[in-house]
């Protein structure tokens, strides 16, 4: 009987349960993960033993003093850095890149100057399966449609065939977001993506990123210096101590979505901001030697 049940087609209820359990799955898990760069006397501890679990579909912001190891956590999740101690599990496996489709964006948009914006955006499709093996065949036109649809979502309609140097910094950063999302990643890693932009462009891009997240629902890990940005975008904010970093505060952000820029000036939001600020100020003061060089 039990055997038969397992092979029966999934009922609607079972399918929903399966979807819910997938939603509750852990996308990124750091267990006592520590990172030390260099060896012997010149070894520098970048990250203390850190515990972090990010459920699938969550939007987590990492804030903290500069040089505290925020980016190191991001690189651990991307599989670019191996932990010196502890375990990093992404998408249920230890080797990051193969288990889960990952999209990444940095402060520097790094568009390739010899490609048009749409070609730049489509770059991940040339690399990630299953798109990669379809790229040279009939699917190329549909890939272009996909790129155009994403570019439209970030307000770059009509710029697809321009070259990167014809676009402003804010426009390049929009294209950078598109490149990070084109292959429908389950995990989106953002390292200060809006750090080099002016305040107005930045706020506009927050809203765009929120919209993209609401549509695609990837798990997001966002490293930022901007506390308003963290509060506006994230479901959850982790505060880190000074180098060698560890997570000293981990709190949920409950504001309803879609959030608005006006919301960031309301008392509740300002209070959250103030609390984060105090935590980081204390963390900076507690640092043994403020050598930020």
């Amino acid at each position: 009987m039990h055997f038969v049940m397992m092979h029966a087609p999934l009922t609607a209820i079972e399918a929903e349960t399966a979807a819910r359990s997938r939603a509750a799955a852990i996308a990124v898990e750091l267990s006592a993960a520590a990172v030390t760069f260099g060896q012997g006397e010149r070894a520098v501890a970048a990250l203390q033993a850190t515990e972090l679990r990010i459920p699938d579909g969550e939007f987590v912001a990492l804030v903290g003093p500069s040089g505290c190891g925020k980016s190191t956590i991001l690189k651990l999740a991307a599989g670019l850095v191996r932990p010196s101690a502890g375990v990093v599990v992404v998408g249920g496996r230890e080797v990051a890149a193969k288990a889960l489709r990952i999209g990444m964006a940095f402060q520097n948009p790094t568009m390739l100057p010899w490609l048009t914006i749409e070609q730049n955006v489509m770059l991940p499709l040339k690399i990630v399966e299953p798109y990669r093996s379809q790229f040279r065949r009939q699917r190329k036109a549909s890939f272009r449609d996909k790129a155009h649809a994403l570019l439209a979502q970030v307000g770059l309609t009509g710029f697809a065939t321009r070259y990167p140097w014809q676009l402003s910094g804010g426009m390049l950063q929009r294209a950078n977001l598109c490149r990070a999302l084109i292959h429908e990643p389950r995990l989106l890693l953002l390292d200060e993506p809006f750090g080099a932009l002016d305040q107005f462009t930045r706020e506009e891009l927050w809203s765009i990123l929120q919209d993209l997240w609401l549509v695609h629902r990837p798990t997001v890990l966002l490293v930022t210096h901007d506390l308003r940005e963290a509060g506006f975008l994230a479901n959850r904010i982790c505060v880190m101590s000074a180098r060698p970093g560890r997570i000293i505060d981990d709190s949920a952000v409950a504001f309803a979505r879609p959030r608005t820029i006006a919301m960031t000036f309301e008392p509740d939001f300002v209070a959250l901001n103030q609390r984060l600020r105090d935590l980081i100020t204390d963390a900076r003061r507690a640092a043994p030697a403020p050598s930020e060089a």
């Binding site: 599989g79 999209g103 990444m104 390739l112 100057p113 010899w114 040339k126 070259y163 140097w165």
Partner: protein, 259 residues
């Protein structure tokens, strides 16, 4: 008033004409013997009269240069890619390369002649030896200067070293590569003529050598003019290819307006 670029071209052409006119006038006024410095008009006359005889030598020099150049480019790309991709290979190979490149290539010609006899082969080898180094350096530099952030983005996607090389490294290298081709073709030319001068019975280098020993000074200068013309022609050819392939690296306003 003509547009700036046209004015610029007129100025360049004017300077060239002025150079030859000045030379002609200087020879006539100073009464210089044509055994020392022939008048340019004399040289042109010699050039036109002797062209049927000179033609096989021009072809010889051109073909030798191209063979040496193509081999040099192939070797340069191979070594440059090897060095640019791997830090270890870079550190290991570079000192030897520097040592090799600092040898004056004139000194190598007698060795090539000893090994392969006089003729085309030592000329090809000299052209190769003299022209491959700038290509190695430029390819290696282009490959080594990939932005680390972009590399991280691609690695996180699961890109292999080859993926990154193919999609980012090599296209990025193209402007460096074509810049080095322009230098290399000129060098290859120098190498060929050098070897022909020392040990060959064909080619412009050889023609100039025998003209020199016969005190046929106008012919000697005619050879020089041919070399200059060939050098300029090759340079222009590669500049045109470069503009085609790597136009993105020279972001001009007319491109922006056209897009």
């Amino acid at each position: 008033m003509p547009r700036p670029e046209i004015r610029q071209k007129l100025a360049s052409a004017g300077l060239i004409v002025l150079f030859f006119v000045g030379w002609e006038v200087f020879c006539v006024v100073s009464g210089m013997s044509d055994l020392i410095l022939p008048r340019p008009s004399q040289v042109f006359v010699t050039l036109v009269q002797r062209l049927p005889v000179l033609w096989p030598h021009i072809v010889q020099t051109l073909v030798t240069t191209m063979i040496g150049f193509i081999l040099g480019v192939a070797l340069g790309i191979l070594l440059g890619a090897l060095i640019g991709v791997s830090k270890t290979a870079y550190d290991t190979v570079y000192p030897l390369l520097i040592g090799f490149s600092s040898i004056p290539k004139v000194a190598v010609v007698p060795i090539f002649v000893l090994w392969f006899g006089s003729g085309t082969v030592p000329a090809v080898l000299t052209a190769l030896a003299i022209c491959f180094f700038p290509i190695v350096v430029n390819i290696a530099t282009g490959l080594a200067t990939t932005e680390p952030e972009l590399e991280d983005v691609l690695k996180a996607l699961g890109a292999s070293k080859f993926d990154i090389l193919w999609n980012v490294g090599l296209p990025r290298t193209m402007p460096f590569f074509f810049a080095s081709l322009k230098v290399a073709i000129t060098y290859a030319f120098v190498g060929t003529v050098l070897a022909e001068t020392v040990a060959s019975n064909r080619g412009i280098g050889n023609v100039m050598m025998s003209a020199s020993s016969n005190f046929n000074v106008p012919l000697l200068f005619a050879g020089l003019f041919i070399l200059a013309a060939l050098g300029v022609a090759l340079y222009v050819a590669f500049s045109l290819i470069e503009a085609r392939v790597t136009g993105w690296a020279t972001r001009r306003n007319d491109l922006a307006a056209a897009a």
